[in-house]
């Protein structure tokens, strides 16, 4: 019953938040209590293994809700991120419905985690995408309704594929529960697996299915994107695990090529999304593509299908939840102050918003996977796993993708914080408390889990050990795989030591004074105060020439083509109802004649 109570708490808080909509303070307090209550309740009351039977007996489907260690792992991520999102969202002017929808999307997400059978899995998956669609619809910006439309279409596409897969499975195995189907004959199980995987590929925006993601991330409310990209995409990862391990455990034996294709799709998504990312001039679009690229790694992790590659994938999913939401939070704080996402209009904000700068700095260090932070262990494990699977081309593709991470993260931090402060941003203050609190809270795991990853690897290993033969030796601080050994805190300590050393060198020699902004070497040409020195937009413009034509290809064209076909069919169907009653009459008589002619034989 505990899980049912949890969903009830969240649902009720959502409703209350809606009813108390106009009274801002009361609504905020209620939703805060609800979120914290949910988190605490989840952490203390819910244990793995307990099956909270909420069996609504409808024909042969029962709403049993099971609980596995993995769902706790993701549950904590979800609830934690939701709390951060909530605290930050109090600064935005949202109405009651916004909070209700966000609470219900959380409810959907948690429901998915607890689902034991495919129909309730689908029920909660649909609720989650429905309510996040409604939030994206309420988002700011004028294109938000276009992207909301794309979002709902893509998630519906995924959901219906899932439904088809479920019913194929039920038809062959006569049970709706999430049970293994690898014993089925023929390649029907291949079809079932692909169909079941599609919604999760859509949710984690793998390449062919990623068209909705940039739009949805940029156009939904800034703080909600934190939860959308950090939290809800994790449901896709959870889905991968369910599909690849619970539903089809013998996949490595039966269809190894499918896993390799899945890994390569993930790698291609990571690199292509990275390239698109550093071409963007809008901060949130850049982060959206970066989030897609990071999720590509997770797909590679699952594709490689060895013990510590899945551990790496789950660890990277957690890492992604931490540093991606940190980046989105900082951009939200910047938007709160400067009211713009456009990289061209920002610049030099380090002078005004130092805390956000530090947050973003460590965020991008983690995104690019530089050692002391959380990004590195998962990437390191992933590389080791791929090399062990002796697929060298895949490892170079993934490495190429991680290089693009350096490019777009530097572009982000440079165009927002470094460079020349625009005149209108002269007197803006640091981002308000909500954002600051979120940044600080997210920085802690960034470093703690970065230096001693054992904390998280232990539970993940406990989950994955059940399915795959473990060959990763680890303790709190360092990890050894058959290939190599890394001691994470050692890297951290040496870097801090050396930092102090070079800082001392810096301090000994001479004093330096601060120069005014326009005291810049411009070949001694005279520039006045508001001379636009900031080189924010088109940062990697020349790369467009380097890539040339391939950059212009996009999946959008293929989608529009099949849309045209469907609307052509629509034209024909519409042509049937041409408006003149006599023609309708003629239809009836014609139909009668044809039927009689066909049936004539039997008459």
């Amino acid at each position: 019953m505990a899980m049912f109570l949890l969903l009830l708490i969240i649902g009720l808080t959502g409703l209350l938040a809606f009813i108390l909509g106009p009274i801002k303070v009361l609504r905020n307090i209620i939703s805060l209590i609800g979120a914290i209550g949910g988190l605490l309740y989840f952490v203390f009351k819910i244990r793995p293994g307990q099956a909270y039977a909420l069996n609504i007996k409808i024909y042969n489907v029962h709403f049993g809700t099971g609980m596995s260690a993995l769902s706790i792992f993701f549950g904590i991520i979800l609830l934690g991120l939701f709390l951060i999102f909530l605290i930050a969202s109090f600064h935005e002017d949202n109405d009651g419905a916004y909070y209700m929808f966000s609470f219900f999307s959380l409810l959907g997400a948690l429901g998915v985690l607890f689902a034991k059978d495919l129909i309730s899995f689908f029920f909660f998956f649909e609720t989650m995408s429905l309510f996040s669609f409604l939030i994206v619809l309420k988002g700011n910006g004028e294109t938000s309704h276009r992207s909301a439309f794309k979002y709902v279409m893509w998630s519906a596409f995924g959901a219906y594929a899932f439904l088809l897969g479920t019913f194929l499975k039920v038809n062959y195995t006569h049970s709706v529960m999430i049970t293994d189907i690898s014993y089925l004959g023929g390649n029907i199980k291949l079809w079932i697996l692909i169909l079941l995987l599609t919604p999760f590929m859509v949710k984690t925006a793998l390449m062919p299915f990623h068209l909705w993601a940039p739009g949805a991330y940029t156009d939904s409310k800034d703080t909600y994107t934190v939860f959308l990209s950090g939290g809800l995409s994790k449901i896709g990862v959870f889905g991968y695990f369910i599909a690849l391990f619970n539903v089809f455990s013998q996949i490595a034996v039966l269809y190894p090529w499918l896993l390799k294709v899945f890994a390569y799709i993930g790698a291609i998504t990571a690199s292509l999304a990275g390239i698109y990312a550093f071409m963007q001039d809008d901060a949130k679009k850049l982060l959206a593509y970066s989030s897609i690229s990071q999720l590509g790694y997770v797909a590679v992790g699952f594709g490689v299908y060895s013990h510590f590659s899945v551990v790496a994938a789950l660890f990277h999913a957690l890492g992604h939840a931490v540093f991606e939401s940190l980046l989105f939070l900082v951009v939200a704080g910047v938007y709160y102050r400067t009211k713009t996402h456009d990289l061209r209009k920002m610049g030099g904000l380090i002078k005004k918003m130092p805390l956000s700068f530090i947050g973003l700095l460590f965020g991008i260090i983690a995104t690019s996977g530089i050692p002391p932070t959380i990004g590195f262990p998962s990437k390191w494990l992933l590389y080791e796993a791929i090399i062990l699977k002796n697929d060298l081309f895949l490892v170079s593709l993934v490495f190429f993708a991680s290089i693009t991470a350096f490019l777009y993260s530097y572009k982000l931090i440079h165009s927002i914080f470094l460079g020349k402060l625009h005149k209108e941003h002269e007197h803006i203050k640091e981002a308000p408390f909500g954002y600051g609190f979120g940044i600080v809270v997210l920085l802690i795991p960034l470093f703690v889990l970065g230096t001693n990853p054992g904390i998280v690897v232990k539970p993940i290993d406990y989950i994955v050990r059940f399915y795959l033969k473990p060959d990763l030796a680890y303790n709190l601080t360092n990890m050894t795989t058959p290939l190599g050994h890394v001691n994470f805190p050692a890297i951290g300590i040496t870097m801090t030591l050396l930092f102090t050393l070079s800082f001392i060198i810096y301090l000994i020699f001479g004093k330096s004074y601060r120069a005014a902004q326009e005291d810049n070497y411009t070949a001694t040409e005279w520039i006045d105060k508001d001379f636009g020195l900031h080189y924010g937009g088109e940062f990697y413009g020349f790369m467009r020439k380097a890539f040339g034509k391939p950059l212009t290809w996009s999946f959008e064209k293929i989608l529009n083509a099949c849309l045209k076909v469907v609307s052509f069919l629509g034209e024909i169907a519409r042509g049937f109802y041409m408006g003149d009653a006599r023609v309708y009459l003629f239809y009836i008589i014609l139909f009668f004649a044809i039927i009689v002619y066909i049936m004539g034989g039997k008459l």
Binding site: G347, G348, I350, K351, F357, L361, I365, S368, I370, P371, W380, E384, I387, L392, F393, S396, F399, T404, F406, L407, Y410, K411, I413, H414, L418, G419, L483, G484, H485, V486, A490, I491, T494, M495, L498, F499, L501, S502, F503, I505, Y506, F509, G510, K511, S512, Y513, R514, A515, Q517, N520, Y521, T522, A523, H534, Y535, F539, Y540, F542, M543, A546
Partner: protein, 295 residues
């Protein structure tokens, strides 16, 4: 004891690095049929730079840039086994740790240069990072066969495995070694790929606003960088058994790089990236195929 040993080691490498730079200037001078400065000239330059009184900074990050740069390259140094002995005793360098730490240096300098809000610096950083898109992947694909051949990801084990002359990485994998050389040229930022620091086009790139002690720190960073990058190549492809062989190896490789640098003109950035995805990429792929066939 280890802390003192630690500083001495760092000082030694920095001085050797500076001497390498002196040799480089000497060699280029002689190629251009002139005498060129004494070998210890860079040390004098660094001392002069640190002696400067009034230097200008554009903000905290601007002054911290070179500090982070030097930290990055120094920590990469400490994780790179020079010959068969490594300063941090219990921890043998891992390829990925070294590759990712290599990025901290340029990132620090990039942040500092960005803060100076000088368009030259930012264009330079954009070019440097895009170039990285070119050479980094080639370098990784070139070194991969060696690691894969010896079934390890740690550089230290690779050195030990290479041992005597016929077992050198360069001999077993000549194609990958060639590709690695191309990549090294880009990584060092030497002439054909000196796009980031191009003095004529963007007024010495990121260092445009750095003077005095900051420039000194950056010179140190460059010096240690030479040793680390060439050292990485030498460790992987030649496996020097002791430190003397290590420095001889680095000198030879550095010498080749300088020769190329002295005579080559400079690429435009998109030409450079396109170049890297041409022949070097082909070579790297051939190297990997060779490993597959070999195994």
């Amino acid at each position: 004891m280890s802390i003192l040993y630690f500083f001495l080691y760092l000082l030694l490498v920095t001085v050797i690095g500076l001497l390498y730079m002196g040799v480089a200037r000497k060699v280029t001078a002689h190629i251009q049929n002139r005498y060129g400065p004494p070998i210890y000239q860079p040390i004098l330059d660094v001392l002069k730079l640190f002696g400067k009184r009034h230097t200008v900074t554009h903000g905290v990050m601007h002054s911290l840039g070179p500090v982070i740069a030097y930290t990055g390259i120094a920590s990469t140094l400490l994780f790179l086994p020079l010959g068969n002995h490594t300063p941090l005793l219990h921890f043998k360098g891992d390829l990925f740790v070294v590759l990712y730490l290599l990025v901290v240096g340029p990132l620090g300098m990039a942040l500092g240069a960005g803060e100076s809000s000088n368009p030259n610096a930012t264009i330079a950083m954009a070019r440097a990072l895009s170039l990285m898109l070119g050479y980094e992947i080639i370098f990784f694909m070139a070194t991969l066969p060696v690691f894969y051949h010896y079934h390890t990801a740690s550089i230290y084990k690779v050195i030990q495995a290479q041992g005597v002359f016929p077992h050198w990485g360069a001999i077993i994998f000549p194609i990958s070694f060639l590709a690695a050389l191309f990549a090294l040229q880009g990584m060092m930022g030497e002439k054909p790929f000196e796009i980031a620091i191009a003095p004529h086009e963007i007024a010495s790139g990121p260092m445009v606003e750095y003077g005095g002690k900051y420039l000194g720190l950056l010179q140190l960073w460059h010096a240690v960088g030479i040793i680390v990058e060439t050292g990485l190549l030498v460790d992987i492809f030649f496996g020097p058994q002791n430190i003397i062989w290590f420095f001889i190896g680095t000198f030879i490789v550095f010498y080749v790089v300088i020769l190329v640098n002295a005579v080559m003109p400079r690429f435009r950035i998109e030409q450079a990236v396109r170049f890297y995805w041409g022949i070097p990429l082909l070579l790297a792929i051939l190297g990997i195929l060779q490993v597959y066939i070999w195994r």
